[in-house]
Symmetry: C2
Subunit: 341 residues, 2 copies
């Protein structure tokens, strides 16, 4: 590999769209040659790739009206290093966040590049607790949910990329926080590492009964990351005047059909306020979010709960695990860095 | 009939619970003798009875945890006159609003009695545009919906008790208002009498296509009074950031099952804010509501759209029409007043 000749670019493409839960054979590893770097463009070498559930709908072709098809590189946000540049603002060696996708190298116009927060002990944080999942948690808990002391907050997918910070933001705001996840190990992480007040194991517990016991006065804020059937179950346990943040739909991502929602009469009776969250709307708050939370992550007040997989070839398996709900934290893939560049 | 001997009280009882749409045979007219008036109680003679969709769930036994069974007088809010009193604050001749139900006479403790708004040209207004349906419209449009100039508002059941005022409040706030109702006559009432900007006839028009045409920039406020399938159809036509007030569920009232709601992904994509409305929460605003809107109703700025049925015996038929959506306004029943009392 040389920076000046034709570069080989290891990449993972979508082979075919998944039917239901994705399997590794939906993806295909290839080696492609990189073209010459275009005018004004910047070439980045991927260091970390963020794997996120919304990619499931991107590869289905229907993520908010966008998507990719077979033969295209699987997209994803990355932390990368500039290795060649035709733009003076982005010199070689700069660490950036960019939509690099599942590949070693990616070329971008400067508007697609973002500098990392300053003071990060490891760059992957810019993809997890201080990145898009973190900003999602912040927007949901603070901007839409207006979490406050006295709230009883419920977070499903509680140890995942968004959930892990949502729970911690609730705790830091003085709320009682109840995790919902599956399996003993994830329940342990939720309570011991992430500081939830309690955890419900949906693989084993009766969620409704557990909520009745843990939140006898009702749930005042539910940060929905998964849709039904949990959405309806938790909505039935809302306090009067409870809030619901609609943010994710694990069932829809994997399925062919859009799931229906809870009976509206449920939300009428609870006088609920329900808000749809799309993190892109909060991009203008990202710098302030990074400035405010980087010190809290670095001093350990907030735990960055990452599950890191080594090598680009681990991406398909790691993504399939994520979509089966088996991840124990925000999923990132770390690419080996060339000894010399 | 005498005020001092045993009084005959004509009443309509629930005969059996309806299965689906109610039919007149679900009700039974009887003549009962009134007991002596209890200590501290006030006897009222019914003048007008309000018929409202929520009564359908009351006679099903499941209105927000309450209900009645066969053999009981069908409940309902009434305008009545005090004809005997054991309480000095409520002398004979006082006009009151009270939960009198479908009967000629009803006895109440003073806490169940309310004075009518002052300045009413006809007392039934206290059951319609200046009563509970009116307060519901006010709470939904102003308190939860925060309607404002520039809004595009959609109101289903547009000429009914709640809808008729909701549409007018939208217009008075400077919003563009789109009615949804069924049939030519109700569409005429919506536009010509109630001042909606436009009306969609759901019996004839393709509602989605009509909304696309009438609201090309999307619906910013939907005051839902009927549930699905209209709720999903209109939600698909929401503007980004649109608001939905969940207030009524015509389908649920008549059916045995609770309907599911729209796919949550729809509300996520629209960044919708959805709020459940129960009018009882706004009882503390009623006096101010009456004070503010009585002059507007009396000077004709707001039209009171009532459908008045003569005689207690008309109540079952009128209620069944209401539950089939055939009413052309807020449904009230007017009882003949005795020549001498």
């Amino acid at each position: 590999m040389t920076m000046h000749g034709t570069l080989a670019n290891e990449a993972v493409l979508l082979h075919h769209r998944p039917d239901g839960l994705p399997t590794p054979d939906c993806f295909e590893a290839v080696s492609q040659s990189l073209p010459a770097l275009g005018d004004g463009k910047v070439r980045c070498r991927t260091h970390y790739i963020s794997l996120d559930p919304y990619i499931r709908s991107v590869i289905a072709g229907n993520h908010m009206g966008h998507g990719i098809g077979p033969g295209e590189v699987v997209p994803g946000e990355t932390v990368a290093e500039v290795v060649a540049s035709h733009h003076p603002d982005w010199p070689e060696g700069t660490q950036v966040r960019c939509p690099g996708g599942w590949q070693q190298f990616s070329d971008h116009l400067p508007e697609a590049l973002h500098r990392l927060p300053t003071g990060l002990s490891r760059p992957s944080l810019a993809l997890s607790v201080l990145g898009m999942p973190g900003l999602t948690a912040f927007a949901g808990m603070h901007r839409l949910g207006e979490v406050a002391s006295g709230d009883t907050v419920v977070v499903p997918a509680a140890v995942g990329g968004v959930g892990a910070l949502a729970g911690q933001l609730g705790r830091l705001a003085g709320a009682r926080t109840i995790a919902i996840t599956s399996g003993e190990e994830k329940c342990r992480i939720a309570v011991e590492e992430l500081g939830y007040s309690a955890c419900i194991d949906r693989a084993r517990d009766d969620v409704a009964a557990a909520l009745s016991e843990l939140a006898p006065d009702g749930v005042s804020l539910y940060f929905d990351l998964v849709g039904d059937p949990l959405l309806t179950t938790v909505s039935q346990q809302l306090a009067v005047g409870g809030r619901v943040i609609l943010c994710g739909l694990m069932g829809d991502y994997n399925g062919a059909q859009k799931t229906t929602g809870p009976p509206p009469g449920l939300w009428i009776g609870k006088r609920a306020t329900v808000k749809g969250l799309v993190v892109y709307d909060f991009e203008h708050e990202r710098l302030e979010f990074e400035r405010r939370y980087t010190p809290l992550v670095e001093d350990g007040s907030i735990r960055a709960n990452e599950e890191c997989h080594p090598g680009l070839s681990s991406a398909p398996d790691a993504f399939c695990r994520l979509m089966r709900g088996e991840n124990t934290g925000k999923v990132v893939v770390e690419l080996a860095q060339a000894a010399a560049s």
